[in-house]
């Protein structure tokens, strides 16, 4: 394609580390934008400090700045690169806020940078409540009565005027942070005060509550000539009152009449035209269920989570087209990339149902308030597609990878109707399952409708599923007819769910189904309901109708994706899957991707040769395998989700490239793992398995304290406890009556923790870098800061680390990629854990070392590449002057009730990276936003029994005044208040940490993290440079 805009260089702003409300959807949008710009020949400069993103790979931008997303840093980048244009509508709220500040401070004007796409003026009109309201009044679009307030008193006066309930919406915050409903003055006062604190411009909007109305969203696009089209409309099953990110959402809208739909569409087009958007825009409406009255709820003048969902739901790539529109293309000049036979100005039409279901973190955080409000709490989401609504629901439910069996959530069994009604009315994340449970108990849809305002259509669909459940459970497998089984499959019951209801075995149900010839058909997602031929291979399964997918005779590999983003399994696995696909494509394989996460690059239909939007269950994966005739599968790249399918896939006769089920067991089963290490003479930490109370007592006599106790199967450190003394252990034991045996007991060594991602060819090992954690062992690796390459290891320690890795690989004949975690204590190197898969740190290592570990790993798995013998390149601090520091990013602001104390259980939702000539320079960049926020900050408040001398010295040296006896609430309001240090587990510390979190106070709970911060205070300046300049250049060959 050719350039439409007479500029050379375009600066694109990314969204930074993943937090609740701003997740992988911006990697998808940003990657598409970069591709669209590069295709036209522009030079793309990208700033984004999230290393786990695909957009920050060299193939997508000419210069990548993994630098802090602050105004001064971006100005430095502009100074250095002198871009002609700035594109800010692809970096979520972070991108918009930055662009707004850059414009307000005159920086874009100073350097003559042209803001392309939607103008700053339009962004402000969409984002600033009063400007937006004024514009809507001008064009006659209804907005709920509201008032912008800067104090709690103003809010109360307004609410007294219009009446309760009201909604509080802080201005310019992520995912509606700090918002909520208030039913009376007391609630309002508390929430407004909090909201004002959250808002960067200290404003809140107080608005008439329209809770219970239908919530409908429109994804609209507009080009510079004024042509507008709607890409997709979506209906929230949960009415207004629950953040759309926490709602179950269906595309297209289901329960609106044609008239209502046309009314809202007309309004949406009027609004996008009045705002003069160029690109994409998300518009949310509240519609009265009966009388066609509607209000506008929100406008996002940028691509968003909903636009990612709409893109995947329709096939129409909103971000890609939006980037083209930003550079002057018109909709009717662009080919629709899906069909390749129609143009982009034709509105997509879909002939199936796409359902989005949120994935919440409450399975890990049981202490967190799980009520759903206007503050988003979900960390990720899944999408399910089918021709029947019922099967879309069931596909969505199995994709959650939760505890539910079929449509039953076991924890709700035995709940009374009253208890269930509580979590239905005051909705929490279990609302959907509670509704099903109520229907199972015979409650009427009319009653549930009256309590929830959920449309009767949705409730009736749910009831029909419960009726089918009853029908199935009244039968035995022998008497099931072909027609019955087909009907159940059409309505989405998995073989496993049918088996459970029939009291039969899942394999017998599958066998009978195949005997009857009941297999799914695959339909194409083509934006045009089959009206035009489509060039893309983007499929979903359904029961009934013709199969549109035809297998090729090429050599093929299936890559299993990692599903919804959750704490412990984030975007980094999507990064690995996508790179695996790209490398295999280049190596000549036909790549087949299966995944269910609509936010990601892996589910972009241009990524793999063939994309299946399906649940990651054995049944769905096997169906795809059989339809495609696959015999090679990669499970190493899709996190624990993919690993957990390994055994069953192997049993079904598939080749799990590079690994085996037996090998995975050997590493994941604690007993077998320790035996293996003993055999290889690799030191491991003392540990044992307790099968009973007596066992546990015996073991704790043998193993010296401190100890770690955890359930035998853990992901992300769930349910792990650390005890420093026999007393605290016994105290816990007495207060804890439901220990589920077996439990693992390990000695806890407060040593140095390091880890490495290694590439292996079955014989040889390549270890690109050793990663050294700043915090001591015992802090989950996902929650600790880490330095690459390791700074304080001795040569012989590095050698041991390498040697143990090589021993393991040789013994296991492992091919591909694995992650090994070590503890160094008292001069001994211990192997802590081996994960036979790509890990969280793969993108990090790849970026720092200037290689691509995920890509190399697939070549090793397929045997297309072998590693050189006995000369292992390893980067170390002596060979290269630069350092990278990885840091965790938390979303504690969204999760009320969560203690911010770091420990063995992971709490971070994302991570960032910073580079420097010294570790301190990199650390300085990490804390830059907090430092900017507190120009007069000079007090360090320590809440500890006794203050460590070293710490005191370092604090003083850094120019901080240590305070100990303060009232936390007052202190956080002082402009001198800077840092809070609270490492203890007692109740007072916990409460104070939560208060500090509410005022977004920089808080540390580990001495090492605080010391790292203190060391960064000596740094005054810093350098920005592209990744290409920071990454390591001189590999040192390690002699063995």
């Amino acid at each position: 394609m050719t350039k439409r805009l007479n500029v050379k260089k375009i600066l694109v702003i990314g969204s930074g580390p993943i937090v609740i409300g701003q997740a992988a959807e911006f990697d998808y949008a940003g990657t598409q934008a970069c591709m669209a710009l590069k295709e036209d020949g522009y030079e793309v400069i990208l700033v984004n400090n999230n290393p786990a993103t695909i957009m920050t790979d060299e193939i997508f931008a000419d210069a990548i700045y993994c630098e802090p997303l602050t105004v001064e840093t971006v100005e430095k980048i502009i100074q250095k690169e002198r871009p002609d244009a700035l594109l800010a509508t692809f970096g979520g709220q972070t991108g918009l806020n930055l662009a707004k500040q850059l414009s307000e401070q005159g920086i874009v004007q100073k350097y003559g940078v042209k803001v392309i796409g939607t103008s700053i003026d339009s962004i402000q009109k969409g984002e600033d409540r009063s400007l937006f309201r004024q514009l809507m009044v001008e064009i006659g679009e209804p907005v709920p009565e509201s008032s912008i307030v800067s104090t709690a008193e103003e809010a109360i006066a307004f609410a007294n005027d219009i009446g309760y309930p009201v909604i509080i919406r802080p201005a310019y915050t992520l995912g509606g942070t700090g918002g909520g409903f208030a039913h009376n003055e007391v609630e309002l006062k508390g929430k407004v005060e909090k909201g004002l604190k959250e808002s960067p411009i200290h404003q809140c909007l107080i608005e008439r509550s329209i809770a219970g109305w239908k919530e409908v969203e429109y994804e609209v696009m507009r080009d510079a000539s004024g042509t507008c089209i709607t890409i997709c409309n979506m209906e929230n099953i949960d009415p207004v009152g629950i953040h759309t990110g926490d709602s179950i959402v269906v595309a297209p809208v289901q329960t609106l009449t044609h008239e209502e739909q046309m009314m809202l569409k007309t309004s949406a087009i009027k609004i996008i035209s009045a705002l003069e958007i160029i690109g994409g825009c998300n518009i949310q409406f509240a519609l009265h269920p009966d009388n066609q009255q509607y209000y506008l709820i929100e406008v996002n003048p940028r691509v968003s989570r909903s636009s990612a969902l709409a893109s995947k739901a329709t096939g129409y790539p909103i971000a890609w087209i939006a980037a083209k529109l930003s550079t002057g293309w018109m909709l009717d000049q662009l080919k629709n990339p899906v069909t390749q036979s129609t143009f982009a100005h034709i509105e997509p039409t879909i002939d199936y149902i796409a359902l989005k279901f949120p994935r919440w973190p409450f399975d890990k955080f049981q202490q967190v308030d799980r009520k759903l409000t206007t503050q988003m709490k979900a960390t990720g989401e899944i999408m399910a597609v089918d021709r029947t609504f019922e099967r879309a629901i069931q596909k969505a439910v199995v994709s959650l990878e939760g505890d539910q069996q079929g449509l039953i959530l076991p924890e709700l069994k035995g709940w009374s109707k009253e208890q269930l009604l509580d979590i239905i009315v005051e909705a929490d994340d279990r609302r959907f399952f509670a509704l099903l449970e109520m229907l199972r108990k015979g409650e009427s849809v009319e009653f549930l409708h009256s309590q929830t305002k959920i449309d009767l259509f949705f409730l009736n669909v749910m009831k029909s599923l419960i009726d089918l459940e009853r029908e199935i459970s009244g039968l035995s497998l022998q008497e099931v007819s072909k027609e019955q089984l087909f009907h159940w499959k059409q309505k989405g019951f998995s073989d496993e769910a049918i088996a459970a209801l029939l009291s039969a075995k899942s394999i017998d149900v599958t066998a009978k189904r195949k005997e009857f010839g009941i297999i799914p058909s695959y339909k194409n997602i083509d934006t045009c309901a089959g009206l035009h031929p489509s060039a893309s291979h983007y499929y979903y399964s359904t029961y009934g109708g013709k199969n549109e997918q035809a297998k090729s005779d090429k050599e093929k590999v299936l890559i299993i994706g990692s599903g919804p983003i959750r704490i412990g399994q984030g975007i980094e696995f999507d990064y690995c899957s996508v790179h695996g696909v790209m490398e295999l494509k280049e190596a000549g394989y036909e790549t087949i991707m299966i995944n269910n996460n609509p936010e990601t690059v892996s589910t972009d239909f241009v990524t793999a040769d063939r994309l299946y939007f399906e649940p990651l269950t054995l049944e769905s994966v096997m169906d795809v395998i059989e339809a495609e005739g696959v015999d090679k599968v990669i499970v190493q790249l899709g996190g624990q989700t993919a690993i957990s399918l390994a055994h069953d896939l192997e049993r079904a006769g598939l080749d799990l490239l590079g690994t085996t089920g037996e090998l995975i067991d050997l590493l994941e089963d604690r007993q077998l793992f320790y035996q293996l290490l003993d055999e290889l003479k690799i030191p491991h930490i003392e540990g044992d398995i307790a099968e009973s109370y007596e066992d546990l007592m015996g073991i704790t006599e043998k193993i010296p304290f401190p100890i770690l106790i955890r359930p035998s199967y853990v992901i992300g450190g769930k349910g792990m406890h650390r005890f420093y003394s026999k007393e605290s252990f016994e105290q816990w034991l007495n207060s804890y009556d439901k220990i589920q045996y077996p439990v693992l007991v390990d000695r806890y060594l407060p040593g140095k923790e390091v880890e490495a991602d290694i590439l292996c060819d079955g014989e040889q090992v390549s270890m690109p870098a050793i990663i050294e954690h700043i915090e001591k062992a015992g802090i989950h690796s996902g929650d600790s800061m880490a330095i690459l390459p390791a700074v304080s290891l001795k040569k012989d320690e590095e050698q041991k680390i390498f040697e143990y890795a090589q021993k393991l690989v040789k013994k296991l004949s492992y091919k591909g990629i694995m992650n090994i975690q070590y503890v160094l204590y008292d001069g001994v190197v211990y192997v802590l854990e081996v994960n036979p898969r790509a890990s969280r740190t793969v993108p990090l290592v790849s970026k720092v070392c200037g290689m691509n570990a995920a890509r190399e790993s697939v070549l090793l798995m397929t045997g297309k590449k072998q590693l050189p013998i006995a000369s292992m390149p390893i980067f170390s601090h002596e060979t290269d002057g630069n350092y990278a520091v990885k840091y965790p990013v938390f979303s504690n602001f969204a999760l009320q009730g969560l203690d911010t104390l770091v420990g063995p259980e992971m709490k971070a939702t994302g991570e960032g990276i910073a580079f420097g000539k010294t570790v301190e320079e990199a650390l300085h960049k990490i804390f830059l936003p907090q430092k900017n926020k507190k120009p007069y900050g000079k007090e360090l408040y320590c809440l500890t029994d006794e203050i460590d001398k070293e710490l005191l010295k370092n604090a003083e040296h850094a120019g901080l005044a240590v305070v100990t006896d303060v009232k936390i609430k007052e202190w956080t309001k002082k402009e001198e208040a800077f840092v809070f240090y609270a490492p203890c587990e007692d109740e007072k510390s916990k409460v104070e940490r939560m208060i500090a979190e509410q005022s977004r106070m920089l808080t540390f709970t580990e001495k090492e993290s605080l010391m790292a911060f203190l060391s960064s205070l000596h740094v005054t300046g810093y350098e920005v440079a592209p990744l290409q300049q920071w990454k390591m250049k001189k590999p040192e060959v390690m002699k063995l």
Binding site: I353, T388, A529
Partner: protein, 137 residues
């Protein structure tokens, strides 16, 4: 009644049929790909006398407004994948199936409407014949 919808091109689609007067029907097909708007499409003069295929897989969620129940549709028949049949919150709506039954409009369900539309688009053939199962054998 179970039966088979046969296109002039030779392709056939199994389906079920309701409100049939005869055991065999011949007609001309036309399709509608809007995601909402079945309420208007049924009365569209340009579909007069034709058998209307809906690409949206579930039709009838909002029924037919009572004010329209005494107005006959312009279409000769309706072809869908699934039809929504449950009751509605207000007595101002009539289930679509009941409305079609009232006017003796043949309703074909469980049709792979996507595939049927694809066939029509590719071949430009629009006539079909529906035969009930007993006659197929």
């Amino acid at each position: 009644m179970n039966g088979m919808m046969m296109l002039e091109t030779g392709e056939s689609y199994p389906c079920k049929c309701e409100h049939m007067e005869d055991l065999e029907v011949n007609g001309e097909l036309i399709f509608y790909t809007g995601m909402t708007g079945y309420e208007d499409a049924l009365f569209d003069p340009q579909y007069k006398g034709k058998y209307l295929i809906f690409s949206n897989p579930l039709i009838g969620i909002r029924g037919i407004a009572n004010s329209l129940k005494d107005v006959p549709p312009t279409v000769a028949g309706v072809i869908v994948y699934q039809i929504w049949n449950k009751s509605f919150p207000m007595d101002t709506f009539l289930p679509l199936k009941e409305y079609l039954s009232k006017w003796r409009i043949p309703l074909f369900i469980e049709v792979d409407t996507r595939s049927l539309i694809q066939s029509i688009c590719q071949s430009n053939g629009t006539t079909f014949k529906f035969i009930v199962e007993e006659k197929v054998k």
